[in-house]
Symmetry: C2
Subunit: 348 residues, 2 copies
Amino acid sequence: MNDERSSTEKTGRHSPTIRDVARIAGVSIGTASKALNANGRLRQETRDKVTRVAREIGYRPNDMAQSLHRTRSMTVGVLSTDSFGRFTLPIFQALEEQFADRGIAIFMCNATDDPERERQHLDQLLGKRIDGLVVTARRADKRPPVGPLPPGLPVIYVYSQPDDGSALSLVSDEVGGARLAVTHLREIGCTRIAHITGPEHFEAVLERRRGFREALALEKLTEHPGFYLSGKWSEQWGREAVAKLFDGVPADQQPDGLFCGNDQIARGAAEALRDRGIDVPGQVAIVGFDNWNVMTDAARPPLTSIDMNLAALGQEAGRLLVDMIGGDSIGGIRRLPCTLVVRQSTQR
Amino acid sequence: MNDERSSTEKTGRHSPTIRDVARIAGVSIGTASKALNANGRLRQETRDKVTRVAREIGYRPNDMAQSLHRTRSMTVGVLSTDSFGRFTLPIFQALEEQFADRGIAIFMCNATDDPERERQHLDQLLGKRIDGLVVTARRADKRPPVGPLPPGLPVIYVYSQPDDGSALSLVSDEVGGARLAVTHLREIGCTRIAHITGPEHFEAVLERRRGFREALALEKLTEHPGFYLSGKWSEQWGREAVAKLFDGVPADQQPDGLFCGNDQIARGAAEALRDRGIDVPGQVAIVGFDNWNVMTDAARPPLTSIDMNLAALGQEAGRLLVDMIGGDSIGGIRRLPCTLVVRQSTQR
DNA sequence: TTGAAAGCGCTAACAA
DNA sequence: TTGTTAGCGCTTTCAA
């Protein structure tokens, strides 16, 4: 009856529908659908005609209409509570790749430290009937679990963990990373190793310190008084800490190795030592954390650092979420290993 | 007839539908819809009952079903050809905020220098019936326009421009930024200003150089031979460039002001001058570009820099795209002004 | 081999 | 004030 109406009659932009294809090709909608989805028994001739028409008028199936049938929306939500920072970035990138490869689209949301906004975003995502959810937070800190969520919705926390330990959580092994650093320093001959790091309200600071101490114990080294310094995540603090460790301190009480909580601190430390004419790595070796090449490469000398392999974290997260969407039920905390990247600051 | 079936009977997870709400509340679907959308004339009692039931069973309307009606999917696509880099980041953030405020969800895609992948992403986005598209590219370089797109789909290029100048494009005024820098140097007394910058295959390098030269002319200053140096975007290059400009050069032929193409170069330059005992800003003043605080704040002295106001760019882009979705038809290139941020490196 | 029709979850026009 | 119904664009039986 009103099959006659063309989509162009309607107001505003409008993509061609399968009805348009069918009408122009002179077949029924059902036939057009079969032809385009390459299933059902159809004459080759019909099939060709339909696909040709579809191409000509630029037909593209409406995913939303499709999703109404399937149980999958083929979308996932990525909810960040760290404003798209330097750390979540490589994770996003890897996630994006993983999902894109599987034809899954990503809804990206940001709710930096704003529970109200987080609630809104979550609402929206659930309205979109996402198939899964990735939650990332800042610097591996614990956070309250998002929610409430419909039961059965796959969720994965990346580079962050819910404080009730309920859901699947993927983090990097900070303790292990710190141990790598100390062991490496020990291997190149350091025996008096100091740890300059960031603010203690960061979960990461505590974990790295634990790794530092465990490794010292393992290597039968002692932590000398004043060799643990907590401050800010800045180059400035790295310089200040070196002043505390070296200025007016007898040579035999100075450290011969520095394990720094991040690369900025490490770079500040390297520069401060350089200012004082102390040779790196000759007299003092330095290991940083993050392997942020902007810092490691520009420092003099270039810095050895611990890499958290955030891209790998993102990849693994993508794979796991896909598995969960597929029906696997997995949970608990998984820690991915860090890697030591050696540069001149520890090359003797 | 089969209104009896409950959604829980079905396999897999499944959100409650409006039919579930209606059935439990003992009203028709139409009534439930009216109640939930707060329109139509309904008894308050009925309205309350329906909303209560909806809340209890955790009902949330299915956006995809809704979008099938409206002409809007309430989603936009953001397609990046620069791997979520440092520059696109603040833009994303601002975009995200703009759209989130209007209940628009964002599909985030990345297709770093891969036309094939770009095609796939675009396909997917069109399948999702996005209401608008944002395209960002790396460092303000020109790029071929994305496409083909359905006619009438609002598109905006941010921090990038299509090389056929067809669509709306929002970039920062690099030329103006460079002029700001030079004028500022002139104002604090510099007369021999050099420009150390990045690789010339970057559009930004050419534009900033143009601004540099225009400002010199305006200030009646001459560009001395060897005072334009193009290299890499690194601190290392900043140091090397300083060596070229100062080592073995008679004092009266050395520059007294440096305008650097980015903050890394500026920082490298500052350090190199420091190594040589040349006072900054006393003998040589420095202005960087990007206002990347990781660099500007850690440099000694902290760097004056040009800020491209990328967040403002993102905000404006969001607003414009929303306007276009609303029916406005706008095009052409718009340049947003840069800002000078003064720090010690030019404070005399 | 093709067409007709039901239904995914929702809204809106029209009846009752 | 409430119920019924016709779609939105698509897939998928079931008939023809």
